[in-house]
Subunit: 700 residues, 2 copies
Amino acid sequence: MDVTLQPFFHPTGIAVVGASHDPVKLGYGVARNLTQSGYAGAIHLVNPRGGELLGRATHRDLADVPDPVDLAVIVVPAAAVPSALRACGARGIHAAIIASGGFREVGPEGAALELEVARIAGELGIRIVGPNCIGLLDTHLPLDTTFLAPPPPTAGDVAFISHSGAICAAVIDWASGQGFGLSRLISLGNQADICETDVLAPVAADPHTRVLTLYLEGIRDGRRFIEQAERVSREKPVVALKVGRFAAGQRAVASHTGALAGHEAAYNAAFARAGVIRAETNEEMFDWARALAWCPLPQRRDIAVLTNAGGPGVVAADAIEALGLPLASLSESTVARMRAVLPTAASVHNPVDMLASAGPREYSECLAALLDDAGVGAVMVIMPPPPTHSAESVCEALVPVIRGSRKPVVLTLMGDALVRRASELLRAARIPDYRFPERAASALATLVRRAAFVGTPPSAPAQFADVRARDAHAVLTNAPDGFLAQDEVAQVMGAYGIELPRIVLAPNADAAVAAAEALGYPVALKVASPDIPHKSDVGGVLLGLGDRDAVRAGFTTVQANALHAHPRARLEGAHVQRMLPEGQEVIVGAVHDPQFGALVMFGAGGTEVEGVKDVAFALAPLPRAEADAMIDDTWAGRKLRGFRNVPPADRAATMEALMRLGQLVADHPEIAEVEINPLRVRLDGQGVVAVDVRLRVHRH
Amino acid sequence: MDVTLQPFFHPTGIAVVGASHDPVKLGYGVARNLTQSGYAGAIHLVNPRGGELLGRATHRDLADVPDPVDLAVIVVPAAAVPSALRACGARGIHAAIIASGGFREVGPEGAALELEVARIAGELGIRIVGPNCIGLLDTHLPLDTTFLAPPPPTAGDVAFISHSGAICAAVIDWASGQGFGLSRLISLGNQADICETDVLAPVAADPHTRVLTLYLEGIRDGRRFIEQAERVSREKPVVALKVGRFAAGQRAVASHTGALAGHEAAYNAAFARAGVIRAETNEEMFDWARALAWCPLPQRRDIAVLTNAGGPGVVAADAIEALGLPLASLSESTVARMRAVLPTAASVHNPVDMLASAGPREYSECLAALLDDAGVGAVMVIMPPPPTHSAESVCEALVPVIRGSRKPVVLTLMGDALVRRASELLRAARIPDYRFPERAASALATLVRRAAFVGTPPSAPAQFADVRARDAHAVLTNAPDGFLAQDEVAQVMGAYGIELPRIVLAPNADAAVAAAEALGYPVALKVASPDIPHKSDVGGVLLGLGDRDAVRAGFTTVQANALHAHPRARLEGAHVQRMLPEGQEVIVGAVHDPQFGALVMFGAGGTEVEGVKDVAFALAPLPRAEADAMIDDTWAGRKLRGFRNVPPADRAATMEALMRLGQLVADHPEIAEVEINPLRVRLDGQGVVAVDVRLRVHRH
């Protein structure tokens, strides 16, 4: 852990700068919460008017504060923050939480003040959380530097790191109602210094934290986040809610890949690489966090459902299968054990319907049987208000069975008042319960996903040793911003082992004919111009020209078509190449994402890429497993294995091209966009042909 | 309303047959609930042992029960139900709720008993709800024939009709906790007689019911359901949760359309036609039902968001835009009104962030300004626990503003204990509140959708007057089950105005050459066999044959290829046709769904239909609006308007072909599957060509 962050998480003494006597002021709230939090270190309340506050003497000046003190919570008006910081420096305090608002969030003047604050902190070596934040809370230390109205959150094992203070306030209150506690809570505010990435490792190091949850509005340094999150998520699950998907602006792009690679694709690729589980809603995030914190991980994906009624069982089965999980097939001995305790009319096949008469004995014995079945990975137990027994009596019988098993069990307690005590009982035993089968199923699916992640060793990106990075660099470094000429593209791609078909630039019709004679008929002719990105769109491409007359006429045609569409385009003649062998066509591309760097795309190629949207993204460079998954994530990729009368194509060569392109863009950040469209995939074993490649250079 | 159902909804007197003295018996529960429900009619408890029960004298025999009595609730053991029904008949009771279990749900013996019960009821003219059900509940009449443990549901305006009794029990309890009431609840059980379709109209006729919610495990008579639901949903919203999607079996199909037209596609098409809003989860169904019951419908789609913090505003904006709704642009006067009450740092653009200091005055004045803005269709107000005011004080100020407006407003109260009183206050004022912006946004989207449905007059299916139904019938009625021969297909399609290219069946190579000479070169050759569905898959199709030699050789080739793939196929020669004009290729097909009848499909054609899955479904016959929507729901359809270098194609002719096919399959239920693949769509104004059509007859 970064030692400069130590005072935030284990302060020896805390000074509240701006502790107020006025109960409606935030400075009062901070003083109140800190003193009531049970914090065991020294607490110093600083107020220029002095006097007593909350039964403690206050200090008129930070300079008067005695040792120990290594953390300041600053709640003075924005304009006074710079001098408060200087006072911290003078007193030897090198960690400050600035709760005060009035900075970047209020406009340009506030932003200037925030810059000044950051500058001062940098000069004095003070680390900052905030400004404009709610602060920091640790229910186990304990410690509470927030100004939120009581009650504080109950102690628990889920840490919450948030870009929004309001969401913190809501989550604390809501979590109490949902019956789970928090371990740590960090409100990061404007992040003038410390950001979400900085706190990942320190929070994960907390032994009381079993799951990290993140509310993110953006990430500043994408690659650093991935690196930190990947390390943390190997040890403890990280669940993130990333919002602001529609707020993000559009960037200028010239390729299909660029048009499809929005911020969301980049975030999804980054989270996938880092092992971060992305939730779509707040409720989903905490539904999953509870299960991750409390349940053992399943050893297999097969789910059993135990219920006392048909309807909820059907709902559960639907939800489980919709999430791609199989319903477990039960062994004969499991079926026999259940038959022994159930009425004959009960359904002993999964979902198991014990009928409405089921009570504590039936529930607990059937659950034990299911958990003993080697074919069962996890169990969902469903309880609509049981008509003849109380839900709590059933749960009392279930708890020891669940706690005694190494398989995860989640409960669906359907109802409200009739299941409330049962719910409290489960929560006390750290068994997650949900109101409806759909949410319980989603929690189980997350456990399965986490188990798969933990069970898969991390794989390093593929690195091809035959790559001549310097050759590519030589071309790229001399190229101006914009599209590379075709021969340069061929050099760059060739240096990374992606061969382009031989293409001859013919400045005039005679040269085109000579080239065709040399390459062999039939040939394709494509107008050569740096100004026309999609040449087939403007009639700039002719295929299958079989003799010299056709080539001569064709040269005139593509030039005329191109000029008609782009009257001011620079024309350099036409590219001539021999007609290529047949194959399936896919697209392989990459763009440079401002947050996360190079992003690779694979999918259905051709001119309709953006309409069909059959594409997958991942971060470059690509581990083999991710390249494999990208191909299978798209219909175009699945089709490479063959489909009906389409024979299997060279999937291995496609994967290699994808990984080589990933290595290329990761090595050369000046490549803004590169796109092979189409990559023609020949029959299995015959390789791929990069039919058309465009590469745009842009220095950042 | 069916007059035979009258006693269920407005009984004059109710006999409980099997009223029990034993408090753990269901027969006691029914007696208790009915007597405690406040039911104003006569209550007769029937128990063979006689005596007093719940302060009332019981009758030993149903025959002894005095007038008025027109409804029986039967809670005797299954074996005694037939005699209980006969007693009802003898006493002149023609409506019975059979709560008893032990019928179809327990196996073949129970199913036989259920058939007997239905037969007896039919003979005696007794209508039945159940067996194996929880019964019927009306909170306004009031009336409660269930045996569920108290408390009963609170009175409200949402009716719940359910195929599952356990879900009823859970929903009653859960609804109380969520703060909304039910008007009527009907548990249908095994539906030996009365089913979900029967009760739609009677429940919708209830003045206290504002929204109908349905929990469905299946629908017996699909077309009757659509007819009834369509009528009801014009008056009152119907929200349905249909489960059991994975339980449904696969049926035998031979076409792409059949393979893609699962039960889910049929249900979606049926709900769309009937105006039924399909929810994915229980929570969604009731989130939506509350908004539909309590809010006016929006006059426009633009949503404004009012909040006191940035984070929740971003979450709301994400959710609103993800649902396809626009964020409203605010007028200058609205902005000015808000500026007048807000601090300068507040963000007065949508989402409006009033900052954490916002209290009752800021919330209510800004909401009033937003509601007065003609560009705003609906408002979401968000309240994380306000740091300086209580949530209830804010809500008190908001209620009159909301109730005084004709625009819908939904609240997001984030938290639990800190917003509980505010939530109660809103619910008492019939204003829907949710815990998170995502769920509130989903409720708003449902209001917008309902407004669009109500604002669109119902449109009758397209009927082409030039259709020669009798000609088609003559062919179909003589055809055996199986695929029609090509000439028969041409006759059937031609009768509905879908012309096929002229195709000549050539039994041998000489005939093929003769046909080609007559049709004109180049031609296509396709093996003729009733046993080979996908002819191109087996090399049975050759294109662009340019002269007699090519045709002669081709004939031998397609025969040999076909026999190689299907050695036992019957070969009838080859079909010869002139090569067709170019165009975009789509698929237009139809299948007969066992539940809902003819179902039409449109989408991306070719051989990869099932992989690409770019298809849309609707019920036949097709109203023009639905045909239009189907085309726009698919990428293949949107592309007909033109895309990049693909010119606009004849969308109107495509739509007509779709509607004509719909009329064909609706008129002739013996058509099990019919598929035009591809339908080649020529340039705008040039029409379509049904390149390849297959039609399978199957009598049900």
